[in-house]
């Protein structure tokens, strides 16, 4: 089990309280983007393409704390941009810890080793390090040679200093499931608490518009990756969300589960789509036309999305909101998901000779038969 009991207890009691009070739309994770500035230029990212004067702006610690208190989510994710480029990031993190929020500071770790002495280990603070695969894959994915080695150095130092650390991987079309499984072994050997993963979202502003998987392909890929798990692998995610990625569960998006706040305000409707902004969280919840989003809406911008910020809240709410869901979560935590068909997929997709870089590999292996029948 990768998520500590205290964190699970906090989230479980929060969900139960919300159910008892009859709240229909409540946040689980605040996606708090303190800045858009980044020290990488990844081809799959649509978050950082702004004029310099926008990239120079950042939220103040006071603005961060006000947003956290306004929405009340028990967990706060600090993505960006690169949060470690924020000059007051330590003050922001310490303020969130003081408010007993479980923080995931999402970083590419280029600055992590250097900045670590400024932070204090806490059960509330996790460094979620962006690592898209082994050295070759990661460096190509983030368009920077040497990025993997720097990130791994940061991870090892953070683990050594007693910090909670997870890795966070985004997968695009052409990903080889065998390579990913090997990568899981690699990161668990680094001593991380768990792995976080997600299919890439097709940002309309991302430079590359040809590598985003559709839902059918996502299910096949994740079934091949996540079936027949090794006991050493730990995932810092809801087991029900992983079952959703594997095609075992059908979920609708819960966009209000991970509301996003940044220099523009509260982002409508979610962390990934930008359909406008509101000044207050209340206004976000009350004025967003939620029925226009999610798979069932037919909105093309939501069509291929199976990303954790929309679907993991659905899984968490099911997991802590019903006995059936809770049992599914317990079972999922301890299951290895044995699946002979998925094993065949792995064998069929095993590369002959050295594996190609994920992003310049050919589209999905022709012999990867449908897995979610």
């Amino acid at each position: 089990m990768a998520v500590p009991i205290s964190q699970m207890w906090t989230v479980a009691t929060y969900v139960l309280k919300k159910r008892l009070t009859g709240d229909k739309r409540y946040p689980l994770v605040l996606m708090l983007e303190p800045l858009f500035r980044c020290n990488l230029a990844c081809a799959g990212c649509g978050k950082v393409q702004y004029p310099p004067h926008i990239l120079k702006k950042q939220l103040s610690p006071a603005e961060c704390f006000a947003a956290v208190e306004e929405c009340g989510a028990p967990m706060v994710s600090l993505p960006g941009g690169e949060p470690l480029l924020h000059p007051q990031i330590v003050e922001i993190v310490n303020g969130l810890i003081a408010r007993k929020k479980y923080i995931y500071l999402c970083t590419n770790a280029l600055e992590l080793k250097r900045r670590l002495p400024e932070f204090t280990p806490s059960k509330y603070l996790t460094f979620s390090v962006h690592l898209d695969g082994d050295r070759e894959h990661h460096d190509f994915s983030v368009c920077r040679e040497g990025g993997y080695d720097i990130a791994v150095e940061g991870i090892k130092e953070a683990v050594k200093r007693g910090f909670r650390v997870t890795t966070n991987a985004t997968f695009f079309d052409g990903t080889d499931p065998n390579t990913v499984r090997g990568f899981f072994d690699e990161v668990m050997d680094m001593g991380v608490e768990g792995i976080v993963l997600s299919p890439g979202y097709s940002y309309d502003k991302a430079p590359d518009q040809t590598k985003f998987m559709g839902r059918a392909r996502v299910r096949r890929l994740f079934r091949a990756i996540l079936s027949n798990r090794k006991p050493t692998w730990k995932f810092n995610m809801s087991p029900l969300f992983l079952e959703f990625l594997m095609g075992d569960r059908k979920y609708e998006c819960t966009p209000w589960g991970s509301p996003a706040y940044n220099i523009f305000g509260w982002q409508k409707p979610c962390y990934l789509l930008q359909d406008g902004y509101t000044e207050t969280y209340k206004e976000l919840i009350e004025t967003t036309k939620w029925e226009e989003y999610g798979v069932a809406s037919g909105n093309p911008k939501c069509a291929n999305c199976m990303v954790s910020c929309g679907y993991e809240p659905t899984a968490v709410i099911e997991g802590f909101g019903s006995l059936k869901g809770f049992w599914g979560m317990v079972r999922g935590t301890f299951s290895s998901y044995k699946d002979a068909h998925a094993l065949k997929l792995l064998n069929d997709s095993a590369p002959h000779g050295p594996a190609k870089l994920v992003q310049i590999a050919e589209p999905a292996h022709a012999s990867m038969a449908e897995t979610n029948q």
């Binding site: 004067h53 368009c143 559709g214 093309p300």
Partner: protein, 142 residues
Amino acid sequence: MTAEVMKYTLQQVEDLELAPGFEHQKLEGWIPALASEDELRQALEKAFDYRGDVTLTLKSGERIEAFIFNRVSGATLVNSFVQYFTPSATDKRKVSYADIARLEFTGKDRAEGKHWEDWVKKYNEKKGAGEKNIALVPDVLE
């Protein structure tokens, strides 16, 4: 609801192998005609989606260089507005649609220009030349 909504059936969505991706519209340098209310609303919608600065000329004659990050479309032009940041001010500002006389897409489109193929080409060329630490770097914040 946008015009695109309801384009897919649920089954089509579930069966998608590759997400279609979005075609990037080249707007840099464009000066839309704003003769009618519809033209103004459509142009400001594009300005909201644009990842570069625009220049607004108000009916008062004032010119504003702005990054438009939000628009609220009301029943009339008077109660519709855009919100923006300027390069020199720190606060968010807003202006009513009814006060806008001219719109120019003057700033560089920051979502244009870096393509995956360019990275692969650059990588292969530099690798072939024996270079190390090959990377795409973010734009310099001038």
